[in-house]
């Protein structure tokens, strides 16, 4: 290995610092939005969480491609963990999105929010990923099937997004809109720091989960070796 991976401890420390910084920026420095009021502040946590979910699904798909290209089994665990963390953040996107919808429009759900509907479809898709994984016997077959499915997921993201937009054009015309926040410099900076901190937090979670899964797999091998 030519470049050492940054140590997990270092990354976690930076993540903690960034989260603290972004909390200060969001609640102390960034001004309140004129149109939406205080509830606009949900934007600083909801949008980075959504972007992070996309990034995790992308990571899962990249590792899935490596599974198929190299037959290396370490990539299977990495792909699985990426999809898992992505799903957690996907659920968080739906929940924070629903809270924001209630705060903005008084309803917990609206089909006119394209991003929310997209995450609902992706949630269904990636839940099926776990059902698929648990229904197939562990082995190289399961690795390859999971990898193909994870790759289909990222292809589905843009296609579904188009579909949802088309559906809203004619089939379900838009009811609610939210004006993009007219962001001041401080708001934009707060958003960027929040985005960076949440992405880094997700990556730390990914690394920790992956370590746990690897230890589990190694211990299982060790037990088999010691019991013969």
């Amino acid at each position: 290995m030519s470049i050492a991976k940054p140590s997990l401890t270092a990354l976690a420390s930076v993540a903690a610092a960034l989260v603290t910084l972004s909390a200060v920026l969001i609640f102390v420095v960034a001004p309140e939005d004129a149109d939406q009021g205080f509830s606009q502040k949900i934007f600083y946590v909801h949008v980075p969480i959504a972007l992070t979910a996309y990034a995790c699904f992308g990571l899962g798909a990249w590792k899935a491609y490596r599974v198929l290209a190299t037959r290396g089994e370490r990539y299977d665990l990495e792909s699985y963990t990426g999809v898992h963390v992505g799903t957690i953040f996907g659920v968080l996107t739906l929940v924070t999105g629903a809270i924001w919808a209630k705060a903005s429009w008084g309803v917990w759900w609206t089909w006119s929010s394209n991003q929310l509907v997209l995450f609902l479809v992706l949630f269904l898709f990636y839940c099926a990923y776990f059902m698929l994984r648990f229904s197939v016997e562990p082995g190289s077959r399961r690795e390859r099937i999971s990898a193909v499915y994870a790759l289909f997921g990222v292809a589905l993201i843009p296609v579904s997004f188009f579909a949802i937009r088309l559906a809203n054009d004619f089939i379900h015309p838009t009811v609610f809109t939210r004006d993009g926040p007219q962001m001041t410099g401080e708001m934009f900076f707060a958003f960027c720091v929040s985005w960076a901190s949440i992405t880094l937090l997700a990556y730390v979670m990914y690394r920790v989960e992956l370590a746990g899964k690897r230890i589990d797999a190694n211990l299982r091998e060790l037990r088999e070796a010691l019991q013969t």
Partner: protein
């Protein structure tokens, strides 16, 4: 190239002949789609707009297709033939293409019954709607055959197939319904074409990895 197409044709032909002899999948699909349409009549309240019927047509088509897809790999599994096909020197993706074409033939046959029935029971269908049905059917069978092969490797495959397939089918439903009810069906038909192109290529490339160890 010509051997590839010959393999595909042979595989599709085999499936069609098997079905003609056994006659278990196609009659079930025909009866299912008709029954579903009748159920929908009772499910629609009196003042539902005429557009609602088009939505229900697409639900009927998707679930009828699922019926066909669920049974599509059964002949290979029962005869233990899938391993044999996979070991054969032909390109594995030919298996997928042959299977998709055969399933498409069954789906078109079911639609030949379902669409006239829909027109008689519910609403008329114009050329754009029919084009939407044709394009979406292609998408259903290409993605469906791949996903069905995945489910075939798993326990609880009957339940797993709809779970894997439905999220992928949502864009097809949007395209199909849009083509049926919108004043500008061109966009929706183009979208269906895009879906077909993207996912057919993906399925074609990925099939090999799904059926081999």
């Amino acid at each position: 190239m010509s051997t590839y197409l010959a393999d595909v044709a042979a595989l599709a032909h085999k499936d069609l002949k098997l079905e003609l002899r056994a006659r278990d999948t196609l009659p079930a699909m025909l009866l299912f789609v008709l029954s579903t349409l009748v159920v929908f009549h009772f499910a629609l309240p009196a003042d539902a707009g005429e557009d609602a019927a088009y939505g229900l047509l697409w639900v009927a088509l998707v679930f009828t297709a699922l019926l066909g897809l669920a049974r599509s790999w059964v002949p290979e599994r029962e005869a233990g033939a899938l391993d044999g096909l996979v070991l054969a020197p032909s390109d594995r993706s030919a298996i997928w293409l042959g299977k998709s074409l055969a399933t498409l033939a069954f789906l078109f046959a079911a639609e030949l019954v379902a669409l006239p029935a829909f027109v008689v029971f519910f609403e008329p269908l114009d050329a754009a709607a029919l084009a939407g049905v044709a394009l979406a059917s292609i998408g259903i069978c290409t993605v469906g055959s791949l996903v069905s092969a995945m489910a075939a490797a798993a326990r609880g495959r009957e339940v797993l197939l709809p779970l894997l397939f439905l999220p992928l089918a949502i864009p097809l439903v949007v395209g199909g319904v849009g083509a049926s009810i919108s004043e500008e069906p061109g966009t929706y038909l183009a979208f269906l074409g895009l879906y077909d192109a993207v996912f057919a290529i993906l399925s074609w490339a990925a099939f090999e990895y799904v059926v081999t160890e």
